[in-house]
């Protein structure tokens, strides 16, 4: 069943079009992450769903009801903000119960819901404290609790972990995932952090310039990006791109780039290319094989190591192929020094090809 549906949603601030006729459907119980660079409209979209911004055109449905003109409180949503947005003069308990008191719920019902949220988030000892006396992680837990007590089907998160330090962010990320598994609510989560997106999401919507570029599972997004933008945005270090042309040799497509020749017999084409078409070949750093194992790959060459970046779990090597900078991710146990000659090979079955206008070929 569809939980949240957005139909042809547009939003303009004066002459600036922030969202351009955007469509999105989120299934019940699904965890969808809106991911994109700053200014892509992801937070704006979330605010539209919450009802905090008036849309210029289009419709928003939550649980099958058209809520385009509804007030935020009547939409059946709970929202968590980046800056926590706790009411500073109220205790944690009062923060949690504020919305329920506004709605005029009976006292025992309020207490039941607050206690349940506090139990789930393990913030019972903090209930009497003011937000000022809490750490960042505790504050964000309370903010999540405030969404929780509303007993709604849809949770909206606006970069909830961005204000936390790296360690806490990882911990809370796992907790959020557990929370989702336990509650089974629909969650829409905005972030610019691709690790958060890849780890949390059932599906990721990559946004750019007010449009969703690709809406897919994390593995699909990572392995089969629709376009050059998605390919370049996801992955760290980023995907390597080689400029060249496609030619057909004996019924087989070959990628040519200043002396480099890559036969594409293993590559699964999405569209039929044209002879002589200018394309970009995208290769993920970890899909380039180094050392003896490279001999088994269809394309083999020898390169100089220009820079070595040990990252702990793995090591990133910087080299140069046919005039293009190339990063390679290797096992941290392989000991490579700057200036070493390397044998590398790559398998075109895991590569991506993009036409000049950025679409997958």
């Amino acid at each position: 069943m569809t939980s949240v549906a957005i139909a042809d949603l547009s939003l303009s601030f004066g002459p600036i079009e922030v969202l351009k006729s955007l469509n999105l459907e989120v299934e019940e119980g699904e965890f969808v992450v809106l991911l994109g660079p700053s200014g892509c409209g992801k937070s704006t979209l979330l605010n539209c769903i919450a009802g905090l911004l008036d849309v210029t055109a289009g419709q928003i449905f939550i649980d099958g009801e058209n809520v385009t003109w509804e007030e935020p409180k009547d939409r059946g949503i709970g929202m968590v903000f980046q800056s926590y947005a706790l009411y500073p003069q109220m205790s944690v308990e009062k923060n949690l119960s504020f919305g329920l008191r506004v709605a005029g719920l009976p006292k025992n019902e309020i207490k039941k819901r607050v206690d349940r949220a506090a139990e789930i988030l393990q913030i019972e000892p903090l209930l009497k404290r003011k937000p000022g006396a809490l750490s960042g992680g505790q504050r964000q837990r309370v903010a999540i609790g405030r969404a929780l007590v509303r007993d709604v089907n849809v949770f909206l998160f606006d970069e909830p972990l961005s204000n936390l330090d790296a360690k806490l962010r990882t911990d809370l990320r796992v907790e959020l995932k557990r929370l989702h598994q336990r509650l089974g609510n629909t969650m829409i989560y905005v972030t610019h952090d691709q690790i958060e997106a890849l780890t949390l999401a059932d599906r990721i919507a990559i946004m750019k310039d007010g449009l969703i570029q690709q809406l897919d599972s994390p593995t699909e997004i990572y392995n089969n990006p629709y376009n050059r933008f998605v390919a370049g945005f996801i992955g760290s270090p980023g995907m390597n791109f080689l400029h060249g042309t496609l030619t057909s040799e004996a019924g087989q497509w070959v990628f040519n780039s200043s002396g480099l020749r890559v036969p594409l017999s293993d590559y699964g084409f999405t569209n039929t290319p044209q002879e002589g078409q200018a394309v970009e070949l995208g290769l993920r750093p970890e899909h380039i094989i180094v050392g003896d194992a490279s001999a088994a790959q269809p394309v083999i060459m020898e390169v100089d190591t220009e820079l070595v970046e040990p990252m702990g779990a793995d090591t990133v090597l910087w080299t140069n192929v046919a005039g293009h900078a190339l990063t390679i991710r290797t096992d941290s146990e392989s000991i490579v020094k700057t200036g070493d000659k390397l044998n590398i090979g790559f398998n075109t079955s895991r590569a991506s090809l993009f036409s000049e206008n950025g679409e997958r070929v």
Binding site: N47, A50, P72, M79, A85, P88, F98, A103
Partner: protein, 302 residues
Amino acid sequence: MADTLAKRAISEPHGPKPKRIISTRNIILYGFLIVAALYWLLPLYVMIVTSLKGLPEIRMGNVFSPPMEVTFAPWVKAWDSACTGLYCEGLKVGFWNSVKILIPSVLISIVIASVNGYALSFWRFKGSEIFFTILLFGAFIPYQVMLYPLVIILRELHLFSSLGGVVLIHTIFGMPILTLLFRNYFASVPEELFKAARVDGAGFWRIFLQIMLPMSLPIFVVAIILQVTGIWNDFLFGIIYAGTHNFPMTVQLNNIVNSTQGVKEYNVNMAATLLTGLLPLIVYFVSGKLFVRGIAAGAVKG
């Protein structure tokens, strides 16, 4: 290696950097501060000293010398029986008039301005920026231009020469600066707080009363200080719009000091002036710290 390091540490700088108390910088700094303080305190000193002297002692001309015989008679006279024009009932009439003008003016102007500032920061409507600009523009129009038109307006409203009229004038003239103050303060409140309250279902008044008000005590203190001192010190509006029976303390002080009949009673004049200035003085002393904190909070972000 460790040896040489340890040896050097004894002769070379170590530990906290020593601070010299008597340095050129400090002498200049404190010298200037002391001179400035004396400069500002001297008139006050002369006023207090003079107000405690009898007239014969004042005629001897030693302005700076302390009173040989302390007398509180000038203070009593200033408060109770000095002549302000036709009546000789002292400043107390003016004091109570000022209080009657002050309290409603301060309350009404602050209540309206705080709601204005809140609405202009969070509930932006089409043209709200223009509205705000026009309101601010009001702060830059010279009062003189508006005096006569306001006389006519108040006359038509049957409020001229009445307490209500002067309260209305103070409320209106306090609006631009107070609205600016509150708007800027609320602009520094994170917008997400407002959004969270809206998701929680709170409306215009509930967000204002339950979320924003408890957070904005410092700016209220600033507004109260500004209005109390401003309205208390007002002379112009009081003399024009209040009417003879409602003349505020400042107007009556002027009448005492500038009366041309009889002997100039310097001691009574000084006592009357000090009495009139007492309230703002107390307000500043009591709230100095809060005032600075609130001003800083309201002024930083535009």
